[in-house]
Symmetry: C2
DNA sequence: ATTAGCACTCAATAAGATAGAGTGCTAACA
DNA sequence: TGTTAGCACTCTATCTTATTGAGTGCTAAT
């Protein structure tokens, strides 16, 4: 289904006006604003056509037109030119790396935060689950008075550190020996492959020093159970307070609650992502609570796994800006992570 | 200024009704509800007195009365009996410690989260700045391919871990020697006392292996600069969406924004705290944006420093519940932290 | 194919009417 | 002297009714 140039022009004008004002767009006002060289009556005819085709809709008979979700979809697929962020924003984004003090998760979080500020929509990041990363190294370091630091490293960096208690009389060599046991058993394995039965095996193979082993095992076991899932972060959720479509308190509550709950978000964000930025408009989302919102998501490679970053905003979204910005941010993250390897 | 029994009873009734309904309380309805054994007319007289004394106010001449901030203050100071959480909640709270996998900051965060669920207000925690903790141990562990793990421990646990790059040909003994240098210089010092000049000193005293030292120093220096401040966490901020006094969107925005910004919160929460739970009602708060809210805060001892935990809600707050709950939660946190030592 | 003109529609706003909860005051009562 | 019933009055919230104005669809002329 392809539209002639004039219809396209009109659809685009309506979309841009509507995105800006959140009000239905009338024929007269539109002709004036964009000074198209046709009359309002002609525009009305074209609008009626576009409505028949399903690209526009009318809140009520005597109101202007607003783009339907299908209208947005057509625009996004066939007409949109993405708009990368300006020089100034780009420079600010780069600055985030100058004081590179944080660990990489923190850096990505910072980037996501900035993404929400640039777009004025809520942003989210999904960091792949640590369970997919590769076991590198387990360390047991003696601390004072019957305590030791258990340290677990994978190719993603430090995955866990926890202070465990040990008998008073264990030597640092003993600890190293125990750690070595873990290392031999697990080196190169993915964390998800480390099963409880493996843990059990180690326990049995080394029955002396049982207390240390037990404590270490318990910590690791807990880690494996609790960190199975990828991490989800949202920032700038309050941006939706500025959108007129959410002036209704009930709607607002529903949506903010969804944005606050990790589990809901995991469901919302598409599982598979291609190279290109993915857009879900309104009811294209399967989760009911956010069928009045749109998603713009990009995937990034993180230690061989798929991470995700994007924004979530009203259907009446500046897709051109959102797509341009998310894309750049994705590229920057990938570059950064590549630099870490 | 003390009130006779009847006035107290009336003030309390008004407060409880108003807290529950958020509506002005009229004489007739009140007499019926609480079946006081006096007539509405008498109550009206008493109300007029209480209004003269400044404990009640009238939104407009023909409305009922609502408690003034001073009224709440009187109630809180002279009449209130705090109400600890029920058995069931207490049990749930205890459960939080069963799967004690997290590090202690995470545990405290979990407790604060639970606090917001119990009270239905926003809760906050302030964790004292790491700069006050005592340097214990610096470790440099070799990883693969020109990388090492820098680990900084204080009495508060692991303060920092960061992967730094090192020349390919450094032995594990070399790393240990370097770490030992830091340890001798800093052991027992408070982090806040470690000055840049000290760092400089180490750098000069060991000019070979400069690259490792430089990288380590930079990481530490960054840490010292960036972790100066205490950490603030808020949870359950969305609870205020349920309060009728914040149905106005502008008010809501202002308040949620304050709750989201660490710096604003730091200003809001009183710096000094005694043994008892501290209550700030409405305009007793100095920060303008939250002068329609009340604070209930308790301090807890954390590694010798003062941490804070509490709730923030509308002036029309169930102070009795809030105080009871915050107090219990504070005690539980202190017990927990004591157990860590 | 385009456009001017006109009757019609409908939400949003304003203006007026009503109801109801609550007060303050007065006078009677224990 | 403290308490209470009664009553006139006040004021908001709500409901009704008009009015306005932006916008449409249709028809006829260009």
């Amino acid at each position: 289904m392809t539209l002639d140039e004039r219809k396209k022009k009109i659809l685009e004008s309506i979309i841009r006006d509507y995105v800006e004002t959140a009000e239905p767009v009338g024929s007269r006002a539109m002709v004036k604003k964009h000074d198209l060289r046709i009359s309002a009556a002609t525009v009305r005819n074209e609008m009626a056509d576009l409505e028949d085709m399903g690209y526009l809709e009318q809140p009520h008979t005597s109101a202007g037109r607003i783009p339907s979700e299908r209208g947005f979809r057509y625009y996004v697929d066939c007409m949109m030119e993405k708009e990368p962020p300006g020089e100034r924003e780009y420079a600010l984004l780069q600055q985030l790396f100058e004081h590179n003090v944080e660990d990489w998760e923190q850096v990505i979080l910072g980037i996501a935060h900035f993404l929400s500020q640039m777009t004025r929509y809520a942003s989210f990041v999904i960091v792949p689950a640590a369970k997919f990363s590769e076991f590198r190294n387990l360390q047991l370091l003696p601390l004072d008075q019957g305590k030791a630091l258990l340290l677990l490293l994978s190719d993603m960096g430090v995955i866990m550190h926890r202070i465990i208690s040990i008998p008073e009389l264990v030597s640092s060599q003993d600890l190293q020996a125990i750690a070595e046991l873990f290392n031999q058993a697990f080196r190169g394995k993915r964390l998800e492959e480390v099963k409880r039965s493996d843990l059990q095996l180690i326990r049995e193979s080394l029955s002396q020093r049982r207390r240390i082993i037990d404590n270490a095992l318990e910590a690791i076991d807990n880690l494996l159970q609790n960190s199975r899932d990828e991490k989800v972060w949202v920032s700038g959720a309050l941006n939706i307070l500025n959108e007129p479509e959410f002036k209704d308190m009930e709607k607002l509550k529903r949506i903010l609650n969804v944005l606050e709950e990790d589990d809901s978000l995991r469901q919302i964000i598409p599982g598979e992502l291609g190279e290109a930025v993915d857009i879900k408009i309104g009811r294209e989302n399967s989760v009911e609570e956010i069928q009045e919102m749109s998603l713009v998501v990009a995937g990034y490679k993180s230690f061989g796994e798929l991470g995700k970053i994007g924004v979530i905003g009203p259907v009446r979204m500046e897709y051109w800006k959102a797509v341009g910005t998310v894309e750049i941010v994705r590229d920057i993250i990938e570059d950064y992570l590549k630099g870490l390897g």
